[in-house]
Symmetry: D2
Subunit: 378 residues, 4 copies
């Protein structure tokens, strides 16, 4: 089968997200990177293309040229899907132009910088029937997919409580220094948008909530913390959530949780059972019930669901990590592009991206209005 | 040194709380149980007294007689302190009469069934200068005391985020059966008071919050869940807390967290460091900072604080448990009764009990009024 | 039911083992300490008796007097069972005289200082039909008893591999200093006998091996380490074991495992399943099979065996520890003394003590003879 | 910088080892797979080459042709290094011919099927000054490299005890069925060589021992288990090891450790400190000392050594796994091929492979001769 022709915008130089996507795209021999704009500077761009072994003929000066030139190529040569790995504010114009010209897109999260932009992209995607993935990476872990699948199969019974945490401590050394906190782009509304903590990691927690349960959050009430008067953006927040009158939960996010590295944790409690999982230990999934010993589910074993098995390359006890999770998302997109049969949820969609933006806006609004309930209906 | 003469109200028969207090009182050879009312039925009462080796001469028919007879005895024979282990609604009348007659008291939590009663007891205690302990057992663990001590010493710097969880799943098999949930005393407002989950375990989480940080929670906003229309009492709740404008936190409690046993967990984040601890693994305390590896602090080692060392009977690696935690609380009360030098926080006080009742009432009120902020000023 | 009259030899002053046995004996309201010799010095002895609330009339100057006086008392007043908590070399003469005079005995491990002495005690015990417990404390944990029970019930199938570790690091700061290592009684053959590491902790690992599996080790081959030429006693050793031609295992013990506290760990592999357990985390038992997720078995839950339930005082999630383990052993002895129905293995017996001594002697012999196989047939 | 021209022998079709090496070689953009023999069947071979995007011009019918044709190419086009991923018995003839013709080699473990062959390869490698890596994958984990580096820097002081375990349970369902165990290649001496358990995983444990400590094992004494009379190869074994008179250790390996997946664990105890690590949790390294709390070292943090940092692509809390470990080995080989400055131990060498074969032979010999000590001097 011929490889999928992949273009890449951003991700050059020392970009970590660039490495992550590049390795992921190679993982199942489904993609070939055939062109892109890796760096704003054209010299660096060409140099980087050579470094990663991409033919420089399809390395362009800027993304407009990229689109204009690629669209002229015959269909069986043209780039099929484009990964957007640039700073957040560029996601919208790039995705817009790509969709308008018939390209499929893999976009880093957050999808855009506002809910309005997100809705615009969604309309374009529907119009052009494009494949559009938003890389909420953590959904690529086999144990996350196993949870989603087992919850959908009724393993836990009706969900009655959801508790998702995303705690980091990295901003701690930044936030307490009045001079330093002024200079960090994450805390500058012009660059980071209306939220720091919720926008960056709270949105992951929210997406995970809806991804795992298959349910939509109906309303939220938030309390954010800026810590200092002169800091405009939240660096910590707790969000009460309601799926319906009697199904509730909580999303907790923080960038001042001193000593936490990347502490995304999941607890979903149903009438019949529960799942607990931690991103830093992604190959251990805890399944609990009222009356039996807690079970530790691990990938690579014969007892796991087909979707978990599909996302694991080696037998049990050979730990795979976050590169492998992203690899699974790329594999899911490949299946979609080639019209192959896929499992539910093999890549996060435009809808995840749109709801993520809605969540950010409503959480900030709830806090500003005095911690009131707001609806999350689109 | 002569032993402290201890009286016991309740805790007879198969009572688990009775075993816990009895073993704890023996642990440091400081107490002798010399009398009490263990059972409402006098025959059972006598039988039980013989069973545990208490002279039946000072086993009384009821608590009024207990007080009336004991108070007539000469001071050096009279019972010095009385443990109240009865159902919650009896705490108040018993404690009241005991305080009025000059006895010291060790009372199970919750202190009373209303904040008003709690205030009345507090006034009596102050008037009579009594020693009064409320047995929030988990404060007796050496690692909890170590946390409190190190936080007070500034090890974590200024506290900036507190997250306390108390999740259980035991009510799960009860709550989903319309017939069963009608018959459980925990869910009957006449017997259990105004709250199930917050009243039973949320109050532990709240007490732990103030105990560890040495700070008072200023205001709360709560969202409770009753799950079913015909169930009047909360069986799950999340409480946003504020210590001050910029120091916030969350208390999470549930009795429908399927598969959880007794999941009290603590996370306190300061500017310089953080502590994490789990009650089910009480001998492992995690100390985190921004720039150093996470450390696992364990009791019985030379590096722990004096207060932790004082509460540990054996060298490192010999796990002590919840009986030992309660033993430490009894030891703390013994020091107070004998006027010995003690560490800060060796037993939870009347103030813990009073604030616990205030918390329960305000949490229920906040929920009923539409999840609004309420002050916790006494 | 009347309490069992308990005498105690040793364990006075600041003795840790004294606290452990005293608290344990109180735990189920089955024993009353009515006399003993707690300290060699009579003044200290009396003072200590008062401190722990024992009537000084039955506190004796020495153990010979203790036996001579107690044996004269009428049967229904006489001490029924005696706990020996003295230094090791006194176990034999004390136990001998006690057995000869018709007393039952609870003896700390190791039983004696030589296999010959152990055999002599065993003969006496049989002759006098005495109850005789050797307090290998770790067998008192509910999860250890659950393992033993489930293995006997065939849960694991035929045992095919056993791996028991007991690693400590406490001797590390001692052993490397030529002056200090000369002065420590543990390393002095006159005081400690023929072995340090195997005698103190290897013997625990060995007893656990036979206790759990219900099988006898047939032969051993050992390699010991003294680390320094001038140190006569082993401070580390590995012992290959064979239960039969094709059922093998390994016992690993060390006092130079830097940073280990009290690292007794158990792994028993059968044809159908396996158990893993760690003493420092005694309430978590791991049950593994070929084709199902690993399960975490915890005490206090309805699914555990009756023997585990019998050794747990509180519901799931309320951690009990080593005092509770010893309490269970005392409870087992109480059942035996009163002729009550008991589970298999509720207290370690004379046979455990005798085989423990045989193990120590053969391990040292194997090493000295050049690491050869030796039989453990009694 | 131009990419390294990589050839691959084996690893076609559904080969897991093929995926592992292919993804690893891409990870740092250092290699391009330009040719090889992926499958014995030429049609499959071509098909697979197309599948993974390799130009079929340099896909050969067999490895002899591969070498003969490649060696004729000009130096700047010729394949520079060849990965051998075939069944074990082909390693030797392939590596031999490759070395004789001036190629560099990356060879899967075990290096050969006999120690004699290994020595022959070593002589050839020295003669031709070739770069030769043996892919003991687990040495690629950042935390393993950190251990090696810190031990070399003296962080643990003099090593005094090493305990390495490699337990699996996969052979359990095979070994107990007399029919099945006859048909498995792993248990057939003609296909698997003289050992199953030691040859497959014991050798990993041995290599890890010498890799981490930087010391050579001087002598060994082994006890193996075949479990059944009709099974010729060991499926379990314990090996006593001595580095010198007073520095000892134990290597434990099993394929009948029911329920274990890939349980390679490491414990290295020195005079000043110790490291513990588990392969299934590769991002958590435990550092212990006598007098300080245990520390948990994690990759991606500023406090780790340069060699650990070099082997980690993302910040702390983003788990990398076994693909990333193999990627680090390929990166190490790339540095060697390009003459770049590298850390000590960035890829396992010919010497690791040779000593691995010596270990296997001596372990089997020790067991057969009645569990005697044998020297491991080359």
């Amino acid at each position: 089968m011929s490889k999928i022709r992949l273009g890449v915008l951003g991700g050059g130089g020392d970009s970590l997200i660039g490495v992550l996507h590049r390795v992921a795209s190679h993982m199942f021999d489904r993609y070939e990177i055939v062109g892109g704009v890796f760096n704003p500077n054209y010299e660096d761009n060409l140099k980087f293309a050579k470094h990663i072994g991409v033919n420089t003929e399809r390395v362009y000066t800027d993304f407009e040229t990229f689109v204009d030139q690629e669209v002229k190529k015959p269909k069986d040569e043209r780039i099929e899907v484009v990964s957007i790995l640039t700073p957040n504010f560029l996601h919208f114009p790039m995705a817009k132009k790509l969709l308008e010209n018939g390209f499929n897109v893999i976009c880093e999260k957050p999808l855009t910088t506002s809910y309005g932009e997100a809705l615009e992209l969604e309309a374009l995607q529907k119009k052009h029937k494009a494949i559009f993935a938003v890389t909420y990476t953590y959904t690529g872990y086999p144990m996350v997919r196993h949870m989603k699948h087992m919850i959908a199969s009724g393993e836990l019974g009706a969900i009655q409580k959801v508790d998702i945490q995303y705690y980091q401590g990295w901003i701690n050394p930044v936030i307490h220094d009045p001079e330093v906190r002024k200079t960090v782009w994450r805390l500058d509304p012009k660059k980071a948008g209306i939220s720091s903590c919720i926008g960056d990691i709270g949105t992951h927690a929210f997406q995970m909530t809806e991804y795992l349960t298959g349910m939509e959050v109906q309303s939220i009430l938030s309390d954010l913390n800026m810590l200092y008067e002169d800091n405009p953006l939240d660096i910590d927040g707790t969000v009460l959530i309601r799926f319906s009158e009697n199904v509730k939960g909580v999303i907790r996010a923080s960038q001042i949780a001193t000593g936490e590295e990347n502490g995304l944790t999941v607890a979903v409690y149903g009438k019949k059972g529960a799942f607990k999982w931690e991103q830093e230990n992604p190959n251990f999934l805890y399944h609990m019930t009222d009356d039996q010993p807690k079970r530790i589910i691990k990938p690579g074993n014969a007892y796991v669901s087909d979707v978990a098995a599909d996302g694991t390359k080696l037998p049990g006890g050979h730990p795979e990590g976050i590169f492998d999770a992203m690899g699974n998302i790329y594999k899911g997109v490949a299946k979609a592009l080639r019209g192959e049969k896929a499992f539910d949820g093999e890549y996060p969609t435009m809808n995840d991206g749109v709801r993520g933006m809605l969540f950010i806006e409503k959480v900030v609004e709830s806090h500003k209005k005095g911690n009131i309930w707001l609806s999350l209906d689109k």
